[in-house]
Amino acid sequence: MNFDFTDDQQAIKRTANELLAARFKSERVRELAEAEKYDEDAWKEMCELGWAGIFIEEEHGGQGLGVVELVILMEELGYALAPVPFLSNAAAGLALQFAGTDEQKERWLPGIASGEARGTVGMVRDGEARLVPDADSAEVIVLIGFDGSTSVVEAGAAEIEPFETMDRTRRFAHVRADGGEPLGGDCFAAGDRIATALAAETVGVAQKAMEMAVEYARERKQFGRPIGSYQAVSHRCAQMLLEVEGSRSGAYYAAWCADSEPESLPAAASGAKAYSSDAGWRVCGSSLQVHGGIGFTWEHDLHFFLKRAKTNAMLFGSAREHRERVASLALAKSETVAA
């Protein structure tokens, strides 16, 4: 029993944290967000370090590590709010690696692992995927229906309509596509890993928003003392810690299940996604409240985190949808126990 990272995993975390802190200082994130651009140089650097294919099998050009290592990177990418097409590409990699046919893997995974031919994933409702990250720069799009249907389509064969979301650190599009060929395997095996990765990213976003609140509460003085000495503020911060640590435990556990105990993954992944979706928004919103008026301004960085947290909450299944899945599993499980 060891609920912590190995030394190698700690090293990945440290490297990611340092590199991202150097590349994505707050001014740089703002500059990219306002220009609605990604940092292509930083993205190339990440690809050269093997990040894009960290969990992809070596025979397909990846590092052959696991979802735990991916989750480590996702958390740090969220913490830095790095404007790079990492999540979309990783989601496509997860879908193809865990549910693709051999042919699909051979065709698409090497490009995803090297970052040279990127992919993305969209969740389809009523014939359209409404919130697809980076569809306009992807070569391959994996569409997963809420009914369990799947299709892998070349981007050129899809109708892609970019649109503006509140999260300017990431590009999104509506996607429609007919045809394509289905994934060979279980789309939940893919979807659960994608939900896990996204939950981990939200952990990083919420961690940063919490740190901003705590730092501000230590320094900002009103009525002659730091506002963090008032319990109305400090208890709000303690609540943030509760929710951040809960989200973190949930995401790490789901990642471990993905790699080592897949039978526990469905409840773990949906639980992590549902909880982090709510917690991410609440923690960022609570941080805004601690900041007061300044936190509501465009010039303060907090809103970028708030908007990322909310957009992540909508992406790849909402908290309500994931909770419904947890309910089905919980009610089914206790039936077997009773029987």
Binding site: N2, D4, P226, G228, S234, G246, S249, A267
Partner: protein, 378 residues
Amino acid sequence: MDLTLSPSEQSFRDELRSWLAENHPGDDPPGEDAAFDHRRKWQRQLYDAGYAGFSWPKEYGGRGATLVEQALFGEEMARARAPQPANVLGMVMGGPVVIHHGTDEQKERWLNPILTGDEIWCQGFSEPDSGSDLASLKTKAVKSNGEWVVTGQKVWTTFAHKSKWCMLVARTDQDAPKHQGLTYFIMDMDQEAVQVRPLHQITNEPEFNELFIEEARIPDENVVGGVGNGWGVAITTLMNERAGLGAASAAGMRMALEDVTQLARDRGVDEDPVIRQRIAQLAIEVELLRLNSWRGLTQIMKRGVPGPEGSLPKWQWGEIHQTLTELAADILGEDAAEWNNPWTYRLLRSRANSIEGGTTEILKNIIAERVLGLPKLR
């Protein structure tokens, strides 16, 4: 990261599980005295099987269990819905204090009867005017002719009327700063000067007591850890002794979740989308309580001290249990008003979960100050 049990942990758990299946004492019988006797027998049964004083070092009659084994023990007890043994406070608090701070004579005198349940222990910390601000306590101990004379009042004293010994913190120096003038005593409850009055809680059970102490006598050899060191003695043992409790409380909540899902099915609301959302949210939070507890244990094993997440389980547990019983009451509707419904009891009893053993507000203060480094209120 490896969340599987080692072969020895696995076999420990299997052994305990089958022992429990064969030796489960059954539910407490009705009536306070009968229930206590039942738990006292259970305590003895645990002792005979080598499961009492589980975390204590072997040289003091314990099992020297690892933190993981302690957590597994708590989980299995909750999973089997086993009753609490009678001498919980002696085993969790009194014994460890004597082991860490006591003299050889004190260890010889007190430790074994704690484990066997022959001598029950209670805790005399809180007072009517000193709850969360424990160090402000006023119960006074004065030395006279080689013994201590104690006068004051204590409250929330669980099992006081069944106890032989009381872990008593009293003020021995009126002039010292409030944390420094305190001394930790083991007081004999069997004296006229100590009067116990039951305190009925909102469930109408007398689970707690008040102690009225009027010139009670405590021999000098019953001071633990030295005169003036009471604060340190009282708090140092708390953190790690509680390490295994998070996992146990999560296992208890998992059983409660089973109960509430069964209730939803029985009442035909298991397809109601609102109820399903609430059940799911609880299922997720129960799981996160378990995971936070295990993450905390890993941190203690690695660093010797609990990490930030180690301070969260008690807070989470109280919230989860309160929310869970509220869901049950909503499912029951009008029937939740019925006094004899077991869920009604749990709905009411769980109101104390955010108060007993450290209020949620104090836990938030601790997290804000010691984990997040926010400035102190004072």
